[in-house]
């Protein structure tokens, strides 16, 4: 393939990967914004989302079909179920620790992550589950590069979700309350804002977005497993840091950038695809050292 086609192919790959990262990074960043917690269980919600979507699709594909007619309801079901799971996790594991030292909450988040992974391990026996759909490989050809409709819909769905989120957060009273809580919780209480409920709303939305990414990734890769959330959790964290943790546009930008970095990074001579994770985390370290506030983040005194 000529170079430009290789680059075009990697651009498509990077955008898809990046939109998954961005969706997961959003929840990471939103939760960090409101309660300054790095929710290490967030990546596992992506995994649970993939399984919830898979389960829903298995149940309804008999009459709804294995195409988008079945996948869209499966995504919506998964978003709702995992959104509620996120709220329950906050209520049970994090809310009792609201006044506790941050390290305690951080360790709790690691425990929740292990719990989710091990429950999924127990149910699946550690096997890969085939996420079969009846989506074909039809699409459009740009030179020798083939982009399927599925890939375009995946990226499109992610973009729509991000736009809806941005409109919600900047335009509605609940969205404004979420941003205000990130700034000053006591002042919010004095305005009549129920801080705990608004935090729960943040978990609901963030978890639902991770679930959507999980189902979309299942559709894209064709298989899911109990451990799939671990690495993407770390990558989403990286994306959130690159964009500026706590910043919603930052998480989107960071996710897309990271996807593109990963896709193009593997094309550098001498950097094979087995080095892609090293490549990504090297960027994390560079950002943490030289620009810890990320591209769009606000400078902040206190950091974990």
């Amino acid at each position: 393939m000529p170079l430009y086609e290789v680059l075009l192919q990697q651009l498509a790959n990077g955008l898809i990967l990046g939109s998954f990262y961005a969706l997961v990074a959003l929840g990471y960043s939103m939760v960090y914004g409101v309660i300054k917690l790095l929710n290490f269980a967030h990546g596992d919600l992506y995994m649970v989302g993939a399984f919830a979507g898979f389960g829903a699709l298995s149940l309804i594909s008999g009459w709804a079909g294995g195409g988008w007619g079945g996948i869209v309801p499966a995504i919506l079901f998964s978003m709702l179920a995992v959104g509620v799971l996120g709220v329950i996790i906050d209520r049970v594991a994090y809310r009792p620790l609201r006044e506790a030292p941050k390290l305690s909450v951080l360790i709790t988040a690691l425990a929740v992550s292990m719990l989710l992974e091990n429950v999924a391990l127990a149910f699946t026996g550690g096997q890969y589950t085939a996420f079969t759909t009846s989506l074909g490989f039809a699409g459009i050809n740009l030179g020798m590069v083939h982009v399927t409709w599925t890939q375009m819909v995946l990226v499109g769905t992610s973009v729509v979700l991000m736009v809806v989120l941005e409109l919600f957060v900047s335009g509605t009273r609940h969205g404004k309350a979420m941003r205000a809580i990130a700034i000053d919780q006591d002042a919010c209480r004095l305005m009549g804002i129920d801080v705990d409920r608004t935090i729960a709303l943040t978990f609901l939305i963030g978890s639902a977005l991770a679930a959507a990414a999980g189902v979309l990734a299942g559709v894209y890769y064709g298989s899911i497993n109990f451990f799939m959330g671990f690495l993407i959790g770390l990558k989403a964290f990286t994306a959130a840091v690159i964009g500026g943790i706590g910043s919603i546009p930052g998480a989107m930008l960071g996710g897309i950038l990271l996807g593109l970095l990963e896709a193009f990074g593997t094309q550098i001579p001498g950097v094979g695809s087995e080095w892609k994770d090293v490549f990504v985390f090297a960027f994390l370290i560079l950002f943490l050292v030289f620009r810890p506030t990320g591209l769009l983040g606000q400078p902040e005194v206190e950091r974990m």
């Binding site: 309350a177 205000a180 305005m191 009549g192 129920d194």
Partner: protein, 248 residues
């Protein structure tokens, strides 16, 4: 006459620090009442206890005759008892207009919220000029106006103001005090905490003087202004500042 706000033997702790030691007083409908006292006397803690930001360990807080001692802060705010905290605490990084919208958070009707916002802009024209500006770029006086305007968005029955004159030039202090008087004349009851006792007493109908968590003096504002022991009271008895240390 029934008091709008009434405190009965309220005791509040910050950890081990006994900040309020049996505070009791009342604020009547339509009045401006001021709490005076030195740094650390418990003025801010009193307001924070009333608005539910810190829990009272014992005693009762009654608002319109109902016991609100154990209510969550956001529930108290929704009753129409709104606290403008020390240091203004505007939402930095959000615009003036967004700050006002958050003040009207409990107003679900968008139209009502817009009308109140327009009323706030009419009262503070400078805020209208700056409506899309990041609120952290406002001057100290403008920030104080924003903090008051934000509180007015919920049309409070009782306004708790914590040191609205802090850090402002004398001309601005006068302007803020005129604003408070106008609000009171329009029917809002005000509980005002001030270090600047002279300014506060000129505005208030009634005053209480706090010293190390107790009320040591109470009276009509005119009488307090002439009281000789007042000077001593708000220069402060003890040297400790438990309230400031705990409230950060």
């Amino acid at each position: 006459m029934e008091a709008l706000l009434r405190l009965e033997a309220v005791e509040t702790y910050y950890g081990e620090i006994h900040a309020l030691r049996g505070i009791g007083f009342e604020v009547r409908q339509g009045q401006v009442v001021t709490l005076l006292g030195a740094n650390g006397a418990g003025k801010s803690t009193t307001l924070r206890t009333i608005s539910g930001l810190v829990p009272a360990r014992s005693g009762r807080v009654l608002f319109e005759g109902a016991d609100i001692t154990r209510l969550a802060a956001h529930s108290i705010a929704r009753l129409g008892l709104v606290h403008v905290p020390e240091g203004r605490r505007i939402f930095r990084g959000m615009s003036v207009e967004e700050n006002l919208d958050l003040g009207g958070y409990s107003v679900v009707d968008e139209g009502v919220r817009r009308r109140r916002r327009d009323a706030a802009y009419a009262m503070f024209p400078i805020l209208a000029e700056r409506r899309n500006r990041d609120s952290s770029l406002l001057s100290g006086g403008e920030q104080q106006m924003l903090a008051i305007a934000r509180a007015l968005m919920s049309e409070p029955k009782l306004l708790l103001l914590d040191e609205p004159s802090m850090g402002l030039a004398p001309r601005l202090v006068q302007e803020i005090m005129r604003t408070i008087r106008r609000l009171n004349e329009a029917g809002t009851t005000v509980l005002l905490v001030e270090q600047n006792a002279r300014v506060a007493l000129r505005l208030a109908h009634y005053g209480y003087v706090l010293e190390t968590g107790r009320i040591v003096l109470a009276g009509e504002a005119d009488a307090l202004e002439k009281n000789e022991s007042l000077a001593k009271a708000y220069l402060g008895g003890g040297g400790s500042k438990p309230e400031r240390a705990a409230a950060g």
